[in-house]
Point group: C2
Chain length 229, copies 2
């Protein structure tokens, strides 16, 4: 039964090293040294290096996806089957941002690993990410229910931009910190989530708010028209 110990030691060591130094320059030999196990143990327990990486990533991904769906379900129950759009977007970006940002998360290996996975793009992880589309469709469906008058196009763009802001904030948090000379507080996770959610909802409800003459009436190419509510 020491087999499970070896397996776990490898997983833990690999996640730690990948989180710290990236996938690029961590070899199997580094991992087995950190885990105090034999080199062949990786291939014995996981088959290959790529399968090890894949297992690490799917484990964390499943966690995040489950949290997202839980929040989405909670929001739908709260709204009696029809979740508010803000709550949907919050369920979409909240778990990811909470998982990767924040001061307490600084030491979290899992968080730093997921940031790495978000920055670098290694084949086994890319393969898994491609399956994420099915997961996102559930959010698209919820959004459609929340905004039945919106076109699918607008909806997908809103979803896309929400993920853009969340992931880019995780990916480039160092740069934003440097650019803003610390003025942007990357530890205020709740504030960041609110910010992303607010902008996302604004993007989704764009046509609704022509209170001011839209930023500029120029060159809209018939794309950003108001939705026919």
């Amino acid at each position: 039964m020491a087999s499970d110990q070896t397996r776990s030691a490898i997983l833990a060591a690999a996640e730690r090293l990948y989180a710290d130094r990236g996938f690029g320059d961590v070899t199997l030999r580094d991992i087995v040294a950190e885990a105090n196990v034999n080199l062949a143990a990786v291939n014995y327990h996981f088959g290959s290096k790529d399968e090890l990486i894949a297992e690490l990533f799917v484990t964390r991904s499943i966690q995040t996806n489950r949290e997202r769906l839980n929040e989405l379900r909670a929001a739908e129950e709260k709204g009696g089957g029809r979740a508010a759009i803000e709550d949907i977007m919050r369920a979409l970006v909240g778990p990811t941002l909470r998982g990767c940002l924040g001061p307490d998360r600084e030491g979290s290996t899992a968080a730093r690993f997921m940031i790495r996975a978000s920055i670098e793009s290694v084949p086994p992880i890319r393969r898994i990410k491609n399956r994420e589309v099915d997961h996102l469709r559930k959010f698209a469906a919820a959004m459609r229910r929340a905004m039945p008058a919106s076109s699918d196009t607008e909806l997908y763009w809103g979803l896309h931009f929400a993920l853009a802001m969340a992931h880019h904030t995780i990916r480039e948090k160092e740069r934003l910190l440097r650019l803003s000379e610390g003025k942007c507080d990357l530890d205020d996770v709740r504030g960041i989530i609110d910010r992303v959610v607010t902008v996302s909802v604004m993007a989704l409800t764009m046509g609704d708010v022509p209170s001011k003459p839209a930023p500029r009436p120029v060159a809209m190419h018939g794309r950003l028209t108001r939705q026919d509510l």
Copy 2:
């Protein structure tokens, strides 16, 4: 004088291969085979593989940055020294999006190379990207002039989100296409730029438009308050 030919052939072949297959699985031997030059030519002309990659990336980056600054300058002249915020954002995201998206760009090696560089994250490119902060400061300065009443924090978040939407659209265009089942037209570059600019400006002027009760008055944590204009 055949030296320049060799150099150019290597650059062209490398850019094409990297664009098609990514940095991960293109070796120097692949490149020299494609370029019909000798293996040693790369080290002779560029010093090392990393310096070759760096030269490819800086060349394209300089082009984009120049276009950006040209647009920014044009916008400032148009506004008599004080460019409109929409024009600033357009100058920021326009060149990148135009360079990487669009139907005609499909065959553009340069475009596909820059998309690769945006997706994968190889050390020599990462080093160059880190210097990009200085370039962005020029835009931050222009934004500050355009919105003197806004706090720096809001300004940096707006800049950050604009880049987030632009880069994420380039990075994940395949996924967005698949998710939306083709409903999001990734070839309509002008429409996409308008979209990103519009949302960015909305994000920047958030406090200004409480025409409707803000998406939800909940949990703003005192962050997304209106600017005191």
